[in-house]
């Protein structure tokens, strides 16, 4: 700490800011690298808990042959039921989205899925109408089943049979698995 005499004889202290700036730069770098600024594949969803779920390794590898359908509560809507972790049955409060775009209308979702599925259709000669595209349905635990059912039916209509549903490991299981 450098000390300097002031005009009236009092002492000023100049704090050394360099270590603080260093630390703050490191913090800044950490948060900048950790922040997800890209196109959001995964929306903020409170997934239902299931201890039998398998760890999703494909997600880390960013498999191109896979789509994620998010069924999530609209962020801008303030809903008392949802805030209390209860089931929100108001269809207008929910959004079905893929890569940040809204596909709440079944026709729109169906059209998009069909287009995506066409690229991997016909690989199985016995079932040329089916697609090898994988679809992950990430529905919020407070969502009514009807929304996930709608997504599944749209997949079936588009010839997609590889459907997975997103689930989170319960808290007590996390301790067991480490």
């Amino acid at each position: 700490m450098a000390k300097r005499k002031g005009p009236a004889g009092s002492e000023y202290s100049n704090p050394n800011l360099i270590p603080m700036i260093d630390i703050m730069f490191l913090l800044l770098l950490f948060f900048m690298l950790g922040a997800d600024m890209g196109q959001r594949e995964l929306e903020e969803v409170v997934l239902p808990k299931a201890s039998s779920m398998k760890e999703d390794k494909e997600n880390k590898e960013k498999d191109k042959n896979r789509l994620t359908i998010n069924v999530y509560h609209r962020y801008e809507v303030k809903c008392q039921a949802y805030a209390k972790n209860q089931v929100c049955r108001d269809d207008a409060h929910w959004r079905t989205g893929i890569k940040g775009k809204d596909y709440s209308e079944p026709e729109k979702l169906g059209g998009y899925l069909k287009k995506e599925a066409d690229a991997t259709r016909g690989l199985d000669p016995k079932n040329p109408q089916v697609s090898e595209l994988k679809v992950m349905i990430r529905a919020d635990q407070s969502a009514p089943y009807g929304l996930a059912q709608r997504a599944m039916n749209t997949c079936a209509k588009a010839g997609i049979y590889k459907v997975e549903v997103g689930a989170a490991r319960p808290a007590d299981d996390k301790k067991k698995h480490g």
Partner: protein, 163 residues
């Protein structure tokens, strides 16, 4: 900013940079990224392959000798709970009772020499998704890998009218 007034200080520190503005900016950036940061939840998946060869209500169903394992789920708004039934049996209150019935039915399939016996979940659209996943989870724990979902009534009618 300014040169030091004391003798010898200028040579020790010839240029003083006012870092206050920079610190302010970094602070703001830090706060922004800290607020927007969220830790990823450990996520997983449950495979639920849809029927490959049938699509939605297409083709002829197989001759059913044994009773199909169909779990009915219905939301009871008055009681604020989900009513669960297996086949034409009565309401099941506990998870254990539900799984006991399902396991008993799977044993019947195994005795009949059948290796594939899907568990069909037939839930009304207002049932909480968490409840459906819970039933799936219990089935998966019992090594029942084939879980199917019943198509909604209006879809089945469309399929039937085409056939």
């Amino acid at each position: 900013m300014g040169a030091g007034g004391n003798i010898g200080e200028a040579s020790e520190n010839p240029v003083e940079i006012n870092v206050t503005a920079m610190v302010d900016v970094i602070f703001c950036l830090c706060i922004f990224f800290m607020c927007s940061f969220h830790f990823k939840q450990l996520e997983g998946k449950i495979d639920t392959w849809l029927p490959k060869d049938r699509g939605v209500f297409q083709g002829q169903p197989e001759k059913v000798i044994l009773e199909e394992i169909r779990v009915f789920m219905k939301w009871d708004a008055a009681g604020n709970r989900t009513i669960r039934k297996v086949g034409n049996r009565g309401e099941v209150d506990t998870d254990e009772a539900l799984m006991n019935i399902i396991i008993q039915m799977t044993n019947d399939y195994k005795k009949a020499g059948k290796s594939e016996f899907p568990v069909l979940i037939d839930a009304t659209p207002d049932v909480p998704w968490q409840e459906v996943i819970h039933v799936m989870d219990m089935c998966k724990k019992e090594k029942l890998e084939r879980i199917e979902f019943a198509a909604p009534f209006e879809m089945m009618n469309k399929g039937a009218s085409k056939n």
